[in-house]
Amino acid sequence: MELSFTDDERSFRAEVRRTLIDQVPERIRQAVREEKPLPRDWMIEAQQVLNRNGYATPHWPQAWGGRDWSAVKRAILAEEIDRAGVPKPLAFNVALVGPVIAAFGSDEQKRRFLAPIANLDMWFCQGFSEPGAGSDLASLKMAAVREGDQYRVSGQKIWTTYAHEADWIFCLVRTGQGGRQHEGISFLLIDLATPGIEVRPIRTIDGYHHLNEVFFDDVLVPAGNLVGDEGKGWDYARYLLGQERSSMGNVGFSRRRLDRVREIAGPLLDDPAYRRRLTWAEIELKALEITQMRVVANERPPSAGPDPKTSILKVKGGELLQTAAELLLDALGPEALTAGFPDGADDDLFQGLDARSGIVSAYFSSRKYSIFGGANEIQRNILAKAVLGMGRSA
């Protein structure tokens, strides 16, 4: 038992912090700290700095650019990236599709996709949810029918973050009608430039455009873009969800938000009621930081599927980001009304907004943390069943 960070872990943290501050331009880190949406080329620029240092894909197999770092070190890295205001490496690329291709893809797919995915030369988005398949993901309907050496794909995906920025989408599609819902699902990579695909924006309550609907109308996809075996997509999706958990609790992000609270709250820090809310948030964050380390230190093979205790990180980490967003919003007081809010007319809203406007948007957008990736109610089901062994819901 070693309940503190080792000297090696501390010096790793210091080195990462120094590297990030030295190499990622201040304009990018400031925009992240102010919670503004970043221009696409800035996201790419930041990820390429991370990738150059081995920071984008440390959990990948070493043959494909991974590093031999312990899970604790990877968690430290993830925390420092967030804390320094560096955009996280694009999760769809490095945490989701990359590891699936590395584990189940053909050699040709690995050669074609992995390096560009790590370097964000190729931007992937995730096509899982459908209008009728949210928490009940296995009920998805988008069909891919095999015709010779290609698939004909028709259907709709929704809540697709960054589909309007992405080059590719990885999709769960229905290739067969198995006996059970989970059967007959396959994992398919689709080039968004293929004819028949339409991306439509969904504007969200934070005033911005991150989400989309993606429509597929008789889209022809080469059969070589199927990852692994036909009908095994559900297994791959489960594998993917069991992947990198080292930043699941968003510890560094919450830390950055709470640091910002202290920067902008001013005299409110002397207000007993406000200060107590901040004190609780800081205590919760310390607890979460250690819970995160406990979950990641308990390394399991990805094939074992997600550790059900990851659900604790998901729920608590999301709640804390929401609490921190509330503290920030409340710190603005009446200025929140005139800090600026995107009016919805223009996608290129980045320039010219007040430095505090991101706080207002972040309050609204933070409601997503208890919804996406399995709503908190689903996480509680998982905890009750998989950890506590309780019976099925009545």
């Binding site: 038992m1 310390k286 819970t291 604790i312 509680r380 905890l383 309780m390």
Partner: protein
């Protein structure tokens, strides 16, 4: 970081779990025999340095022991005497009293609280005056857990030179011990000192450094209490989940209802966060006083809140059964409530954290 118990620690956990389970099953309990068992297993010397006759155990070893203690609702004065008073004796270098404690021959208790001062022990209305041939101690202490008329007491008192620590032997003239049952079936005492004459040797430690020594001992005891609470909460959740799986209503086990499952999941999350914060407290015990104090206070605040939530919800989920004293859930709730109060309630510890400037990251 590595949260896995070592082989030695696993052995320690297995043997104390067995011992504490045996003790819990004793009817009637034999406290003297239990204390001998503690001595034979090395628990009385566990937290103390080898140079002081102890086993040189680490705070995380104590954490593991106290977690097992909490799971079985242990009743011995281990925390109050060995961890709190013993910890203080080691810090101030009172080697003879410490040796007697480790040998199972003396069981000192620290009298921390006074009426009307809530949890602030650092300023003492109880005072000691130096006189020819010794001291005169006057005042009163309250809520001394496990104290009885035959207890060996360590009493902090204000002196001309600072905070004194005075050893008061059982049966000393002028000492009154009013013993009361605590809600968890143990006892605590209010103790009066009416112009008690003490010999010069009664003063131990050093009035200049005693306050810091008591603070360190209290912080160690708080971390241990957090571990005890985590053990008790975890066991209480197991009892509750078992009950939900057994109790049938509307033709099904009530544990199949989602509302109750989600409540249990919330209890689990509260316990896991409490466990993490306990680990934090334990890992900070070697740090400088202010940093240590803030970390320990933050931990007790969060563990307290978890204990209140888990305790109350366990009773709620047991329905009427939770209100009966024959069912074990109530005993865990009672113990958790006592421990929540011990060394400071939630608001007190939040005040401590805020006075230290909050809990910011390094």
């Amino acid at each position: 970081m590595n949260f896995e118990p070592s082989e030695d620690q696993q052995l320690l956990v297995a043997s104390v779990a067995r011992l504490f389970a045996d003790h819990a099953a004793q009817s009637p309990p034999d406290p003297a025999a239990q204390w001998r068992d503690y001595r034979e297993m090395g628990l009385l010397g566990l937290p103390f340095a080898e140079a002081n006759g102890g086993l040189g155990g680490r705070p995380e070893d104590v954490m593991l022991v106290m977690e097992a203690f909490g799971r079985t609702l242990g009743r011995t004065p281990y925390a109050s005497s060995v961890l709190l008073a013993g910890g203080l004796l080691e810090t101030i270098g009172a080697k003879e009293m410490l040796a007697a404690l480790i040998a199972g021959e003396g069981r000192p208790l620290l009298c921390l609280h006074e009426a009307g001062r809530r949890y602030r022990w650092d300023v003492s209305a109880t005072a000691a005056q130096a006189v020819d041939g010794g001291w005169i101690l006057s005042g009163a202490k309250i809520a001394v857990l496990d104290a009885d008329v035959d207890s060996l007491l360590i009493c902090p008192a204000t002196t001309a030179d600072g905070l004194g620590l005075f050893v008061v032997a059982p049966g000393t003239a002028g000492v009154t011990v009013e013993r009361r049952p605590t809600p968890d079936g143990r006892h605590a005492a209010n103790i009066g000192f009416d112009a008690v004459r003490l010999p010069p040797t009664a003063a131990i430690g050093d009035p200049v450094g005693n306050r810091a020594a008591v603070a360190a001992a209290v912080d160690g005891a708080i971390a241990a209490t957090c571990a005890e609470m985590v053990g008790a909460m975890e066991k209480l959740l197991e009892i509750t989940v078992d009950y939900l799986g057994t109790r049938q209503q509307f033709g099904v086990a009530i544990g199949s209802f989602q509302a109750l499952q989600h409540r249990a999941a919330d209890m689990l999350m509260a316990i896991e966060q409490a466990r993490s914060m306990t680990i934090h407290a334990v890992s900070m015990l070697d740090m400088a006083a202010e940093e240590r104090g803030a970390a320990v206070a933050a931990s007790k605040a969060l563990v307290n809140r978890a204990a209140r939530f888990v305790g109350q919800q366990a009773i709620q989920l047991h329905g009427g059964m939770g209100l009966t004293s024959e069912y074990p859930a109530g005993a865990y709730f009672q113990r958790l409530t006592v421990l929540e109060n011990l060394f400071g309630d939630t608001d007190h510890h939040l005040d401590v954290v805020e006075a230290a400037g909050g809990l910011r990251a390094a």
